[in-house]
């Protein structure tokens, strides 16, 4: 405490109600301006974290399951390519991959004036990805697009990095889960006259899920925790905003307490939900 007084650092959570005074690049759901409070700023950060984590989990699960199934395919090429993907992605730090994707978007894609347009109304440029929304279509105005639905380069890079990285881990879990199902089950399904697709869907997957769910939970948690690397590429997630807050107010203890409390709550809720789901699919 003496240290804090000496450095003239306030303590307590009173700062949360003060004016934040910084802008936030993007806010998914909430309206936010520099005149709003620190509390609101942190809340915006939380929604940004949850948004990228939720979409990331969905994408990583789909991609990971597909790659995991490819890994078990009878097709040699499919098997080898998916195996190489898993090996490479798992052995390179996520932060390097995030920087890589960010460089691909900001350096590899053309400027807004020469944006790629793979579909009418959809534009890919180093300013982000633009889709038409229900109310308006993106149009070029000056150096950037206006209107429509926009995804910033930071969000796109973070989502891309998190989804492809976690997918490699999920693929291994799916593969192990399917291999854990007894061979006899497959043969029995075959004997009943089920096709391969039917056998996978009706016999193998429901049993594999029991093995898959617990490690999958920890991957979902990892993805959520890894979304905190957003601070390195400038996506305004919770950690990034808490970091700005700490720099402005000097109240590091409170800032870190907020980060830790939020992540612990998220971790406990996800593992609580997955425990419930696990009880649901487990042997009765």
């Amino acid at each position: 405490m003496a240290n804090l007084e000496e450095r003239r650092i306030a303590s307590g959570f009173g700062f949360l109600n003060r004016e934040a005074g910084f802008e936030i690049g993007e806010s998914a759901f909430l309206r936010y301006g520099a005149a709003d409070s620190y509390l609101r700023a942190l809340f915006v950060g939380l929604t940004n974290t949850l948004l990228v984590a939720a979409i990331g989990i969905v994408l990583a699960t789909i991609l990971g399951t597909v790659i995991g199934l490819c890994r078990l395919s009878k097709n040699f090429l499919l098997r080898t390519v998916s195996g190489a993907y898993i090996e490479f992605i798992r052995n390179v730090p996520l932060l390097v991959q995030l920087f890589f994707w960010y460089a691909v978007i900001t350096e590899g894609l053309p400027s807004a004036r020469e944006a790629l347009s793979p579909l009418p109304g959809v534009f890919l440029s180093n300013r982000g990805i633009f889709f038409p929304s229900f109310s308006s279509v993106p149009e070029l105005q000056g150096f950037n697009f206006a209107g429509g639905f926009a995804i910033s380069p930071e969000f796109a890079a973070l989502l891309m990095g998190l989804a492809t990285y976690t997918a490699a881990f999920i693929a291994e879990i799916v593969r192990a889960g399917i291999l854990a199902v007894d061979r006899g089950q497959n043969e029995a399904a075959h004997a009943l006259g089920l096709t391969r697709a039917q056998a996978t869907r009706l016999v193998i997957l429901p049993q594999a899920l029991r093995v898959i769910v617990p490690p999958m939970t920890s991957q979902y948690l990892n993805l959520t925790k890894n979304s905190s690397l957003a601070v390195a590429i400038g996506y305004p997630d919770l950690v990034s905003i808490a970091n700005t807050t700490m720099n402005q107010t000097g109240q590091a203890i409170e800032g870190i307490a907020v980060i830790m409390a939020v992540y612990l709550t998220i971790s406990l809720s996800i593992s609580g939900f997955m425990n419930w789901y696990n009880a649901h699919v487990a042997f009765k």
Binding site: S73, V96, L229, V239
Partner: protein, 337 residues
């Protein structure tokens, strides 16, 4: 031919897939070779790079010394180079089962002392280099090595504490492990770099590298503790009972009978944790240390080399990949035993 038919074209669906994949693979392979080799610029010439269509490896040619050794004095670069080689040799040496004896600790002790001497200098005519100037590959390797070296004993205590009969110790250990595993590493790093100085008496300062190292140790200990706990759980009940029957006191029982067996079982997951740890050290960039990824990133800030991020990060991935892939192969070799 038979192999081709069986593995690529067993049915028409699979066959179409294979054909499609071959076309895509061949096309992207040609595009990649074009980009990475045929059209690439290897000279350290930024203007030639901007004119070329391919990759600009000139960035690496120009900056490789900075990337590998950071801000270490230029004419002394042989010292971190020798230290890196020595450290890698120590790890390789310890990978052999035949050397898992008590004297391995001594080998490590002398090896690390030698590395410390090389890096700090101040003896045998080597000028002193303060550790603020350490950087690049050796910093990444040292952070992971000391991370695991200090976290490992701590994790054994945590794992034993988690299985202890004493409720307070058990609660403390479970609390610590779950707390650290529930929060991202970056928050632990912030804690060490921003919060720790506030708790020190005025006048006492710990430098940035030691603070980051402390955070990595705290973080790694929680994950390693779960690995060790897995090992402890795999030991059959009979071993515990037999140790009891010999009337050995708790610490001798643990030290002589339980731990040697438990740790042998935990080697593969331990190596996997080490891989994760090596990858995680890249996060020290966020609190301003000059590790390998950080030096790569800084090389890009020079205006002449601005905009060659893809090449720089491909290079960084390759360096990390070499280390992590070697370790994952090693960890997998235990499965076939």
């Amino acid at each position: 031919m038979k192999w081709l038919r069986d593995n690529l074209f067993p049915g028409w669906v699979s066959g179409v897939f294979s054909a499609l994949l071959i076309v895509i693979l061949v096309k992207s392979l040609f595009a990649f070779v074009d980009w990475a080799f045929l059209e690439a610029i290897w000279r350290a010439d930024a203007n030639a790079c901007r004119a070329a269509k391919g990759a600009c490896w000139g960035l690496i040619t120009e900056k490789h010394r900075f990337i590998l050794f950071g801000t270490y004095p230029y004419e002394q670069h042989w010292r971190p180079a020798a230290a890196s080689v020595l450290l890698i040799a120590l790890w390789t040496f310890s990978a052999f089962r035949a050397f898992w004896k008590w004297w391995l600790t001594l080998v490590w002790f002398f090896g690390l002392a030698l590395i410390g001497m090389l890096m700090w200098g101040g003896v045998f005519g080597m000028p002193y280099v303060e550790n603020e100037r350490w950087g690049g590959l050796i910093l990444t390797l040292l952070l992971s090595t000391f991370g695991v070296a200090f976290a490992f004993p701590l994790s054994i205590l945590l794992a034993l504490g988690r299985r202890s009969d004493m409720p307070i110790i058990r609660a403390l250990c479970v609390g610590y492990i779950e707390l650290i595993r529930g929060v991202p590493l970056i928050s632990v790093l912030f804690m060490a770099s921003v919060m720790l100085p506030l708790f020190l008496p005025s006048g006492v300062t710990i430098d940035k590298m030691v603070r980051a190292q402390l955070a990595i140790v705290m973080f790694a200990a929680a994950y390693l503790a779960e690995v060790v706990r897995g090992g402890l759980q795999s030991i059959p009940r009979g071993q515990y009972d037999a140790a009891h029957a010999l009337a050995l006191p708790y610490w001798r029982r643990t030290w002589l009978i339980i731990l040697p067996q438990a740790l042998r079982v935990s080697v593969p997951p331990l190596v996997n944790t080490l891989i994760a740890l090596l990858k995680d050290t890249s996060l020290v960039l966020i609190i301003g240390l000059f590790d390998l990824l950080s030096t790569v990133k800084i090389s890009l800030t020079e205006p002449a080399w601005n905009g060659f991020g893809i090449e720089a990060y491909v290079f960084a991935s390759l360096v990390y990949f070499v280390f992590c892939f070697a370790m994952s192969r090693y960890s997998r070799s235990f499965e076939h035993r």
